[in-house]
Amino acid sequence: MAQHRISFSLNGETELVEVASQITLLQMLRDKLARTGTKNGCMAGECGACTVLLNGEPVNSCMILAVECDGTEIVTVEGLAQDGVLDPIQQAIIDHGGVQCGFCTPGILISARGLLDRNPDPSEDEIREALVGNLCRCTGYLRIIDAVKDAATRQQALKAG
């Protein structure tokens, strides 16, 4: 079966990889590039644990072929913190106790980052709708929703300087 040479930006750094056709973005991240922050949950596009940003938009990395990512920009949970400073959504989810077992957290952080990038001041309904594709069996979601609201406020304060 054919191998494909692809290049893409992963958390700001260029990667060159050779992959077989059937290898998903999720498999490439975890097995070839050792970015294990992105989790493998359902492998059916339902649970959201594998969510990453592809060209700025949240996607289920289990539902995309690695070869389709040639020339794209990918951000995983490992790419959220900048220069050792957590992203506002990371800090907020810690402060609000929005993490229990933590398995869903990388996907939730990425979905929330995608939401805050396209809508810096989301309503609660908009937050809930944006997180529909991220299942969490521990927290009951309320603290996560609070964290996203708070992250929006913190982000705006940071931007206002």
């Binding site: 079966m1 059937q22 959201g48 969510t51 289920n60 539902m63 995309i64 072929l65 995608g114 594709g133």
Partner: protein
């Protein structure tokens, strides 16, 4: 023994042709062992489940304008095959002129799945449960299909033959769906009953569309399409004819709901029983008609 609910994808070759001609020829030459790939949200699930075993997936997402969405007040709306549902929902012209299509997209799965899922993919998958198919039917969608003989136009009405079956032949690639400008004063809704309020597949889906129409005796045209209650998505033609010939009243909507039930032929499955589905077709059809009637311009 390990039971792997969703194993990795089986081996296949990913093909990215340079042109539509090349893509159609490849698909024709490899009929039965190849498939056009858009967002893959259905294909990958079926391959993992061992239902599909294609040797080749042919990526047609970015070929010759398939990544474009365009509205013109006289020509209407064209949505390229590669345009994802989030882009459709966010498009101002869709929100203004085809709001039921935006509403239907919004009901599909999750944001991250809709970054990949496409309306044309939803249509070509031909699931009886396809959420965007009802709106596409009622807005009189027409498909641009590229085959080995070249480009042709295929109306959506008549496109579906059964579950997963369409009139498409080997080598055919749907490149876009086109909608004429909607009738003046047009309004509607998509009511979806799932096992939860968000993200699930539909147990029953009811799309309704209505608009002033001087050619009917009531002065209005009301149409309903049903999802998940027949072997293919259907428009209830008896309902359309009944409501163009009978005065619009609550009783007429009740009668129309019965016609919708009669047009349905639901089955029992893991999401709901046939009996429940038929009951819900009646409930949701009446509700959708009432909502649509309130939304029609000059009525509310």
């Amino acid at each position: 023994m390990t039971i792997d609910a969703h194993p990795e994808l089986p081996e296949f070759d990913y093909i990215r042709p340079a042109t539509l001609v090349e893509a159609s020829q490849f698909l024709k030459e490899h009929a039965g062992e190849s498939r056009p790939l858009l967002g893959g949200t259905d294909i990958f699930v079926r391959m993992r489940d061992g239902i599909w075993h294609d040797k080749y997936l042919v990526d047609v997402k970015k070929l010759d304008g398939t990544d474009e969405i365009h509205f013109d007040p006289t020509a209407g709306l064209t949505i390229g095959a590669g345009v994802n549902m989030n882009r459709v929902m966010a498009d101002k012209a869709v929100q203004q002129h085809y709001p039921v299509l935006a509403e239907a997209c919004r009901s599909v799965a999750s944001y991250q799945l809709r970054t990949r899922a496409t309306i044309v993919g939803n249509i070509c998958n031909a699931s009886p449960a396809g959420d965007t198919i009802g709106a596409s039917l009622l807005y009189n969608g027409v498909l641009s299909v590229h085959g080995v003989q070249g480009l042709r136009i295929v109306p959506l009405a008549g496109f579906f033959l059964g579950p997963g079956e369409t009139v498409l032949q080997a080598g055919d690639i749907v490149t876009a769906i086109h909608f004429p400008p909607p009738p003046s004063g047009c309004a509607g809704t998509y009511l979806k009953l799932g096992r939860n309020n968000w993200s699930d597949l539909s147990i029953v889906g009811v799309t309704a569309l209505g608009y002033p129409d001087p050619t009917t005796s009531t002065g209005f045209r009301l149409r309903v399409a049903l999802a998940s209650v027949a072997p293919r998505p259907i428009e209830v033609e008896t309902l359309r004819d009944y409501l163009s010939a009978h005065q619009i009243t609550r009783d007429a909507f009740r009668q129309a709901a019965i016609l919708a039930q009669q047009a349905s032929s639901p089955i029992d499955d893991m999401r709901g029983s046939a009996r429940y589905r038929r009951l819900m077709v009646g409930q949701l059809t009446e509700k959708a008609l009432v909502l649509t009637w309130k939304r029609i311009d000059g009525r509310s």
